[in-house]
Symmetry: D2
Subunit: 296 residues, 4 copies
């Protein structure tokens, strides 16, 4: 069953023609959900939390694509998202849906929180170094599809094309999510770039230990990501085209030959590994299906 | 004096930063206009007509950038623009503001109607052949700035980028304007292309007389446009880049070596020669200034 | 076996990373081909013909992706492609690889000629009306990937972005192919648009018989394309986004309410239905596989 | 006199049509240069140095647009540019052509070195803080025109469009230039973005002294840039569109409310303030003309 609020009664193909799915969108009805059912919730933040709670309470296993269960610390919701979280118990229980970090927990979870797009690329870029990171700066470049479907002055072609600019400097909601998973403070600056789909994070950091040789660093990344089917460790700074229309992420660590600092790149399709693809991967894990099922 | 309705009280630089003009936008006040003043009216169609009438009646000389005085036939306004024209006398008097066709009339006119962007490129492409044209097909490609500043689903970057499609097929309001000035029926299809500024019309026609040799045709165009400072006759199909950010138009006639049909290209910056640049050129003529004053 | 000339010895993934295929490209060796084998040839025109002939003579069944067997009339090769065709017998035998027109012949053919990208979109747009067409003008807009991988001034981002222009006016090699399949002379103008993948043909024509009502025309298209899995008849002018990264074509016929002329749109992904996707569809038919196998 | 090597004998309008300058490009002839003449040299690095030396020795005053006189330390030329500099005396004498830093020296200089595009945006973003900077990371995004006119795989539309990637990580030649002018080591990462003209540097730093309040920081920038006609201090992160087709730079300092780090943005048109516009500004100063002459 596929549901929608504003678009209920329309066929999916008329809302999103590229999927060629003619099924009619139904009105969401939590009462029709039974114990053991799976549900993916794609509501705006603050709206999602009550629905997720109801579904969980009815015995469903839920993937929340919104931001409402990504942060474990309930105290962050008022300042960051502007609402008091109704169910801190579910915040405590929810598993952050990054399989490269929490795969086993995702498999058995009742509630999985699908990551934000910026955190997805940024955390993957730095994850093999978690615990040793200091002085982290993350400079991210996002395609316009990350801004959502609502037409605004910012996403008007005559503004977004031929343009690059930063936004929400020091104030973007994805920062706490990155800090939670990497366990370190970060300076995070998102930029909008004239691309439809794609998100590149350029991550600068110092390591608390010895700075490794590039060969060792790369080997460490390869060892870390062995067995993770959707992360590719590459040797040249990756571009968005390498992952567009897929669920792949590419990561690339580099070491400053003058010493002191490392740079790690992470690139994803923000609609793929950064949203819907990651959601399918998580649902596959939750349901005991092959992790790559239905994904390119 | 620069006026605005929704933006009155703001500085122009805050509405359109690229012009770096700090003057404050004032509330329009027709009563402040005296005989002999010049006024340029950029209201939406139907809104412009009453204001233009009031300004003319106060003795001003008016350039109407809207569509409200482009068509001489009042009977066209209800079906094409959805309103009955309040002042057919002004429709009859208004000069169509294409200097390459009506320069002397523009100089002395009380009321000049600035052309639409599609007609500007299309008429210039075919004007040297007016009176001999038959079986005209005009296939136009417009940059997104031609769609206006209002954010809509159509101009969302994620829709407009990487995309080309036709719109308002057989139903675009600029067709009657082209037919009026060229004196012939046309089939006209506008397309939206992922470009900010630029408009290219590819015009197909047969000639009622002998089909000329390409050298003669080109020579005829050159002779026609000699003395017109903003039209360049070129030998290769022109691209939008040749005229962006200028008031130039480039036109290029070609002859089918198999006989029978000619193709003529016309390209402009839709914001330049297709709108604001053309407006300045018309105001220059009306005010007795050098025609090229203030224009690139 | 996947072969290459310049890139032999490299892994496919290093030449075209987006396919993630690690197999090594081998040196082409026609002698390794046996009777009953299938071969797809992607050589430049003039180079392909001798290789195709050798493969056919060895008993292989060949899909020629080049232009070397698209035209049945050998006399066209010198003026259009600049070489005398070495095997007019194969020209006579080759089936034009448009399943919507020649499906049954493709199934049993020894030699199938994969269509050009412009013909693919243009013929599909007009095919239900073949035999009744007159006065045809085809105005096509092609994404830059259609220009091939060789870097040139034309495909430099700083030239192709923010730009639209026509090229090879009255001189493009795809025109004779369109005329062969539709059985009528056409005026054809290709344009380059700032899109990576996508090709839209806007086709203008008169019908030799009565001009139909739009409902009847659309019904006729639907009946014609029923049973063709990759052609969708739509009611609004289609855009490139509807078919990008797929093997679908969308076609849309429209009738001028003032009478006399019809307009038909055809849109494809020039790399999908316009090249590689169409090739897979043809190979599926030749090999007796399901027509849609391996295609999105 | 305008000269060229490969294009000598052609009209400028045929090489760069957008300038509409019909003068014929002449063969460079240093012997025609007299004492007191001005010369702008736009040769590739290593080629420029001998020509500049000859012109200087003939008494000309030279603006070198190449990189050959930007670095004062001759020892940097072999590792960074791959050649031993022939005239360390001219390196010592050359003034770095950033008027916001060296205006008075530029006015009287015999030899001015026009800055690189990345340094231009990056230095302007941080210049008011020079002497107090530490731990500097500069993440730059450059439009494709910065890569030059030569067609390569990197600038092919089908590679550059819909894409962002870093290049020459830890190895770009503009880093030493930034370090020379700011007097501090920097980590510098250039990225290519799908924009024609525009360059944005996002600069992260700590200050050796107290971190200021944002109001004080902004005031300091405003005071610093008062009297510099082409630098605008803005309060929101600036986008490329604000400066395209102009000689303006916009800079925007921001302070992390959590303390410790500042972020400063600098944006220019890489062909304007980042190259040709800056060159005209420098020539104006050298020649005693108004600094803004001929510039938008």
């Amino acid at each position: 069953m596929i549901t929608a609020r504003g678009d209920a009664g329309r066929r999916l193909v008329d809302v999103a023609p590229e999927y060629r799915v003619t099924r009619v969108l139904e009105v969401p009805d939590p009462a029709s959900v039974s114990a053991g059912d799976f549900a993916a919730v794609c509501y705006p933040h603050a709206d999602a939390a009550p629905l997720v709670a109801e579904l969980i309470d009815r015995g469903a296993r839920v993937l929340d694509v919104s931001a409402d269960h990504r942060l474990h610390d309930a105290a962050l919701y008022p300042p960051v998202y502007g609402f008091a979280h109704p169910r801190p118990d579910l915040l405590a229980e929810a598993v952050y849906g990054l399989p490269e970090r929490h795969r086993e927990d995702i498999r058995g979870a009742r509630l999985v929180a699908n990551p934000g797009c910026f955190p997805e690329a940024s955390i993957l870029a730095l994850l093999p170094l978690a615990g040793e990171l200091a002085d982290v700066v993350i400079d991210s470049k996002s395609g316009v599809s990350g801004a959502g479907r609502t037409p605004t002055a910012t996403v008007h072609f005559s503004h977004a094309a031929d343009n690059v600019s930063a936004y929400k400097v020091y104030a973007h909601r994805h920062r706490p999510e990155i800090e939670q998973e990497l366990g370190v403070d970060v300076t995070f600056t998102p930029h909008l770039v004239p691309v439809d789909r794609g998100l590149l994070s350029t991550c600068y950091a110092r390591l608390t230990g010895e700075t490794p040789h590039i060969d060792d660093l790369r080997e460490r990344y390869r060892a870390f990501y062995a067995g993770h089917p959707f992360v590719e460790v590459v040797e040249e700074p990756p571009g968005m085209r390498a992952v567009q229309h897929t669920n792949y992420a590419q990561v690339c660590p580099m070491v400053d030959p003058r010493g002191g600092r490392i740079t790690a790149f992470g690139v994803i399709d923000n609609i793929g590994k950064g949203a819907a693809g990651q959601a399918v991967q998580n649902l596959n894990l939750m349901a005991g299906l092959p992790e790559t099922e239905g994904l390119l």
